[in-house]
Subunit: 380 residues, 2 copies
């Protein structure tokens, strides 16, 4: 068995839907937010804590694990699930995005990419075939094709060449993939050009995958450009397969994606901002380093049922941040992941009972849109 | 009620004993190891985790909390227990040791000490009276007299003047202390000079306290000097009161103290070494950064029942340390505190059933003594 996806409810007159995705390590409900555990750990958290927060699937990063500790070590220790003691589903990305964003001296050819390891400077080649081999060694339930993520300001000519190569690489990935207990997702590219998005979606669907990811968004493009690209995705991607919007993101972007039929999201946003003392609440965002919290006996959010809000004051959390204590990162991460996972649960509920529009209006009202949200597919 | 101490068993032919110490926040068994939570958090741990590891009492530091967030804030938020969400007993030190070891430009007079805050440079006075006032604001179950900790290489003349002033300060602390729900402990000083240790013990006992601390040891003196000082303490301190050896320490030093009638210990050793990847086990110490562990599927210790050893390989812990992941500190701290707290539990059991000597021989055999263990009364 690889995966089985079932659409459970579709919002009348729209594309938003709830679903169930079954994997060899259990099933989860969609739309889903996947916490990011780049280096085989969701920063500051244990697997049991993630489970108790309701995380149904987590993401880990091929690029980082290949370099350290090395995928062979993880394979020989029984695979990524056993290595990190996480018993539920895992999705690994392909390493493509990190090669572009993190590696120095990369050289891209039709064959693949050559780069120097940021860990030890060693020269490394990554190709569609080797990315699949690494992901097979790691053993995630869902793995991704090796793609090129064109920059948001790529010219049409560059984005076209890039999307075409990504499609050829997707075919090679599919041919190389052999593990029967993993589902390989294709990735649609095409930057901000609707014609290329359409071409890339059709080319990827023609190859045929059990799920489709939308890459190259939330990398700096405007919100209208993102929405236009998502509109094409919603029109072109098959409705009976899960759709994964990579590296997204924020509460606002969840609604943008979900109303265009997206089922899966991942982003470092909740965990990274938590470690920077920025907390999400139903009442808006809070910066815990702000002196206004120094003697405040209230929890971060009076409407939140997370462990941090049930047991600690804003004053205590601010103190932990000012003193650079590890517990600050733990409590803030717990809170932000609770908010994101609970928001996704509320969104699923609102699709089922027809209150999606009201929930969206309430959430986006407290998160006025700003520039400068984190880049998609960041790792941590 | 303040505290009640009862000796339950004394090892035949020796001074080692087990006891029960009852405080307003519950009782614990002695000999006890107190994890150090300098800044109102035992680094990397939640209170619930400390409880599940069996911690019966923790220590926190007056000096640090006075400077940040400030004792008035903690008092106004309901005291230290509520501030940090720890429901069991707390002991606070007096700030004396930190003034000597951490503050710049301190000036010592009979009145007290003047120093500059290492947090913001503000000029601060700390005296016996103000130390007690701060500790009353924090609200720990057991608080300490404000003392001067003479250096291990102090001359006899310096150590004598220092011990005499510490005794006068102890009388002022006792006079200043008003909260009826706190027990104030006296501190014996006298550096490595048996005659001064004897004088200081008698002077402190003459003032009269519900418990006695042994200060100024494990600050760089030789092991024979430490043992000689502890011999004097064992002879001079009343057997019906708890004895607390401050800032100690290592498994070897626990045995040194306990066989001389010590009941209470605290040290940053297990938590600090954990964050530096050094782990204590029944089979000896382990440095998890060592490359030999890179692919090792075994737990840190096959004989250990802690959360880290039940769920993770040495290879995974080493990976977390090499990647500077927060979970490395969490798992290693969990393991080391489990080892220290479990060792103390085994020591209590060995006193009750007469196997203390065998236990001691087995433990010290795997921890050959070295120079350079951490300074007593370090904070973190």
């Amino acid at each position: 068995m690889t995966i089985e996806f079932r659409v459970d409810t579709t919002l009348p007159g729209g594309s938003a839907r709830t679903g169930t995705l079954r994997t060899p390590h259990g099933e989860f409900q969609t739309p889903v937010f996947m916490p990011v555990g780049t280096k085989a750990t969701v920063k500051a958290m244990t697997p049991e804590e993630l489970e108790s927060l309701g995380a149904g699937i987590i993401l880990s990063n091929t690029f980082h694990l290949m370099l350290r500790p090395g995928h062979e070590i993880i394979r020989d220790l029984g695979g990524l699930h056993r290595f990190m003691n996480w018993k539920r589903p895992i999705l690994t990305d392909s390493g493509g995005f990190q090669v572009w964003s993190l590696a120095k001296l990369n050289r891209i050819t039709e064959q693949g990419v050559r780069f120097r390891s940021p860990v030890d400077g060693a020269e490394i080649n990554l190709s569609p075939e080797s990315s699949i081999a690494v992901q097979e060694a790691l053993g995630a339930d869902i793995i991704m094709c090796f793609d090129e993520c064109a920059p948001h300001d790529a010219t049409h000519a560059y984005a076209k060449r890039s999307a075409e190569m990504t499609a050829r690489w997707a075919a090679r990935c599919r041919a190389a993939h052999a593990r029967p207990d993993q589902a390989l997702f294709g990735i649609v590219q095409g930057a901000v050009y609707p014609d290329l998005r359409e071409w890339s979606a059709r080319a990827t669907v023609d190859i045929g995958f059990p799920g489709y990811a939308i890459g190259g968004l939330s990398v700096g493009e405007s919100k209208p450009d993102m929405e236009a690209a998502l509109d094409v995705m919603d029109r072109e991607l098959p409705r009976d397969k899960p759709r994964y919007l990579m590296g997204v993101g924020t509460p606002n972007d969840f609604f943008r994606g979900i109303e265009r039929g997206v089922d899966m999201f991942d982003c470092v946003h909740p965990t990274r901002t938590a470690r920077n003392a920025r907390l999400f609440t139903n009442e808006g965002a809070l910066n815990l380093r702000n002196a206004v919290h120094a003697a405040d006996p209230r929890p971060v959010s009076g409407s939140c049922a997370c462990y941090a809000c049930r047991n600690y004051s804003r004053a205590y959390l601010r103190h932990l941040f000012m003193a650079n204590e590890i517990l600050a990162s733990r409590l803030a991460t717990t809170h932000n992941l609770f908010y994101f996972l609970d928001l996704m649960r509320r969104i699923r509920e609102s699709i089922r009972n027809g209150t999606f529009a009201e929930l969206k209006a309430g959430v986006i009202a407290v998160y006025p849109e700003k520039r400068g949200h984190p880049t998609a597919r960041s790792t941590e």
